[in-house]
């Protein structure tokens, strides 16, 4: 008995045949041609930025950082150190408002403040600014001086005297100017 059944199927080997029969269900059809499976792919569109996409992250991050910085600056300007106190203002003032006051440039860049917080900080600022303008204009106008009757009488008399004096002096001046003009014309 040839013992090469395992290698070239000559002879017989019972144990191997038994194993073959047990595994036959997993065997492939020897007659079928071997074919490499083909994966169908859709034709890809050509893109200019295809190769540079990673590079786009840099300007995008710069833009985002600029927007965040601008928003933070506005928030810090509105809520920054000023003569307007938060404590005296606003029914809108919430416990979160003082947190905005503590923003410091050196600390981590805060995210863009929520619109609600900006409104809460901005409204009282406008209100205070208006009040301050009014306070500035009132002293500029000043109280009108009040005069006594004697002062008014004295002023009227002086104005009358000066008006007569200036009128007469004005007449002399006009005559003198007229004479000069006449002599120049001649």
């Amino acid at each position: 008995m040839k013992e090469d059944y395992l290698w070239d199927k000559t002879g017989s080997d019972e144990s191997v045949e038994k194993l073959e029969n047990a595994l036959r269900i997993f065997s492939h059809d020897n007659d079928a041609a071997f074919a490499v499976p083909v994966i169908a792919t859709a034709p890809q569109k050509w893109s200019l930025f295809k190769g540079f996409r990673p590079l786009l992250f840099a300007p995008a991050s710069v833009v985002i950082a600029a927007i965040a910085w601008g928003a933070w600056m506005q928030a810090s300007r509105i809520t920054g150190p000023s003569d307007v106190g938060f404590a005296s203002v606003s029914p809108i003032e919430s416990p979160a408002a003082p947190v905005i006051d503590k923003f410091e440039p050196a600390v981590e860049p805060p995210p863009a403040p929520a619109p609600q917080i900006i409104k809460a900080a901005y409204r009282p600022r406008l209100k205070k600014r208006t009040e301050r303008t009014v306070l500035r204009t009132i002293p500029a106008e000043g109280p009108k001086p009040e005069f006594t009757k004697e002062e008014i009488y004295a002023y009227d008399q002086l104005v009358l005297a000066l008006s007569i004096t200036s009128d007469k002096l004005g007449q002399v001046r006009e005559k003198a100017i007229g004479e000069n003009n006449n002599s120049e014309e001649k």
Binding site: P145, F147, E150, E151, I152, A154, Y155, D156, Q157, L158, V159, L160, A161, L162, S163, I164, T165, S166, D167, K168, L169, G170, Q171, V172, R173, K175, A176
Partner: protein
Amino acid sequence: MRSYVKYTFIALLLFIVCGSPANAQDASIRFDRLEQLESKARDVVEVNIDGKLLDLAKRVMVKVKDPEAAKVAQAISGLKGIYVRVYTFANENEYNMADIDEIRAQLQAPGWERMANVRSKKNNQKIDVFTKFSGDQMTGVAVVLSEAKTVAVVNVIGPIDLELLAEMSGKMNIPRIDIESGSENKGTNK
């Protein structure tokens, strides 16, 4: 000897101190002769401002928030007194020219200088402006005007800016008073 020098110095000091107001008073004119015109005149304007009244008026002029008033206040800052007489007559030649000439004669005294004079046949107008100086300091001004129906005399004691005052005619709160044209009642002419 020492007491002699001391008394001389005191006497000299008193002379200087008392002499200054005397010099200032020298610029004043006597209006006695004009008083008789009051009964003849149709309208009379008489203004006498000096001393405390003048101080009150100056104070008001400074307080009034008006740029023109500020200019005038500066022009009269050294003013010590101002006296005005204006007589307006209903008809021509109702006053005696000798009364006015007496005023002009007072201004012929030493120290007075005629700064300007205007003579016009129209209305027989004569205007004289006299000034008096003590050194470089103006101590007085006098303006004498006589027309057919009007006599006006102004006497200013102390320095005053005549040029500015002439320019201010009719400006500021100072109303232009043209007595001859009969519009003298506008403004503050009371």
